[in-house]
């Protein structure tokens, strides 16, 4: 590689996390306990660090990028589905980024949000954008449809969703290492 990467990758993985060897991790990345990272996903922490919380699932061809200098903090129990691209300034807990969804870098995601499939989430204001401009969504925001629209959801189904995630993680921890090469901690 001839690209000017002056920093050496600093990747710290908790012993209870599962990271596939095929995953592309670059920069300073911290992966907490219980998180499962599928093959062929990309995490780029090139200017600033990325800290991923506990019990997240990052599926194949998902992309997480930190475009800022300050670290990008991702909370617990988030699901990044196939082909999602998240560049958000920060991510809270219990969020779902559906298939092929995209979040741009001037948005902060709080807790319990859901970004629908193929939605491209941009700030709702079109005023002249400053470098440090950020929009923070409300908790329980649901982004859906073609435009995409937003609304505030009720918390119905959240308990069920968390139980499903817990079972999903348990299944993946049993099944994945049987067939896929894991990165050594």
């Amino acid at each position: 590689m001839t690209t000017a990467v002056d920093k050496v990758d600093k990747i710290s993985i908790h012993p209870n996390a599962l990271v596939c060897q095929d995953a592309d991790l670059r920069g300073s990345i911290t992966i907490s306990s219980g998180t499962v990272i599928h093959p062929k996903c990309t995490i780029l922490a090139v200017p600033g660090a990325i800290v991923i919380g506990e019990n997240c699932i990052i599926e194949e061809s998902a992309i997480i990028v930190n475009r800022r200098k300050e670290p990008m903090l991702i909370g617990d129990e988030n699901v990044f589905e196939v082909g999602s691209r998240v560049e958000a300034a920060s991510v809270g807990s219990r969020n779902t980024f559906s298939v092929k969804s995209r979040v741009i870098s001037s948005i902060e995601i709080p807790n319990d949000c859901s970004i629908g499939p193929a939605c491209i989430l941009t700030p709702s204001y079109t005023s002249p954008q400053r470098e440090d401009f950020r929009e923070r969504l409300q908790d329980y925001t649901v982004v859906y449809g073609q435009n995409p629209d937003r609304r505030i959801g009720d918390a119905v189904g959240k308990i069920h969703q968390r139980a499903l995630l817990a079972k999903h993680l348990e299944y993946l921890r049993n099944a994945l290492p049987k067939y896929i090469k894991m990165r050594n901690v």
């Binding site: 062929k40 193929a118 099944a175």
Partner: protein
């Protein structure tokens, strides 16, 4: 010693005529059945490791003959909890079916002679019947059943038209000639 594997090329051709790119990611090939004359192009991801929970041996993915998986599409089984146990459920793709580039398929069953356009998102447990067609960029919500000879489009995808009775022969001819004209370069 004669062998049909060309080790210097980017492609593998099996005895049954499957043409598989070496750049494709095929997890756990033991659990995947290819019926022959299947084309799998570069950067395709097929998840065979996500199979039914439990000790009994099972197949995760069944792909019919003359099926074409275009560049960078993702084919993975769908998951749910049933009677309290979490499991992935096997996926079946019929014959003479083509799946467009960058599509994400989490269906339960895809019939024969189906044409899925590029950039489509097919949700969990969708059933696509024979001779259906999805226009490029359509997003099919989970648990949808797409009837035979239906043309679906949009986000979320709805039926906009029906296809002529000649679809079966047209699609069969098109996929067969696409396979025969395909050059492994």
């Amino acid at each position: 010693m004669t062998t049909r594997f060309k080790n210097d090329s980017l492609w593998i051709e099996t005895d049954t005529g499957n043409r598989i790119s070496r750049k494709a990611t095929i997890c756990a090939p033991v659990n995947i059945v290819l019926s022959g004359n299947v084309i799998i192009k570069a950067d395709v991801i097929i998840r065979g490791d996500l199979k039914r929970a439990g000790p009994s041996p099972s197949i995760a993915m069944n792909i019919g003959k003359y099926t074409i998986l275009d560049e960078a599409c993702v084919v993975r089984p769908a998951y749910k909890t049933y009677k309290g146990t979490f499991s992935y459920y096997p996926m079946k793709i019929g014959d003479y079916t083509s799946i467009g580039a960058h599509s994400v398929l989490e269906a339960a069953a895809v019939g024969s002679y189906v044409d899925i356009g590029r950039g489509c998102v097919v949700g969990r447990f969708v059933v696509i019947k024979d001779c259906a067609r999805l226009t490029p960029g359509s997003v099919v919500p989970p648990n949808t059943v797409i009837p035979p000879y239906a043309l679906f489009s949009g986000c979320p995808a709805t039926q906009i038209d029906t296809l002529p009775e000649s679809t079966l022969d047209n699609v069969q001819q098109a996929t067969t000639s696409a396979y025969n004209d395909f050059k492994m370069t």
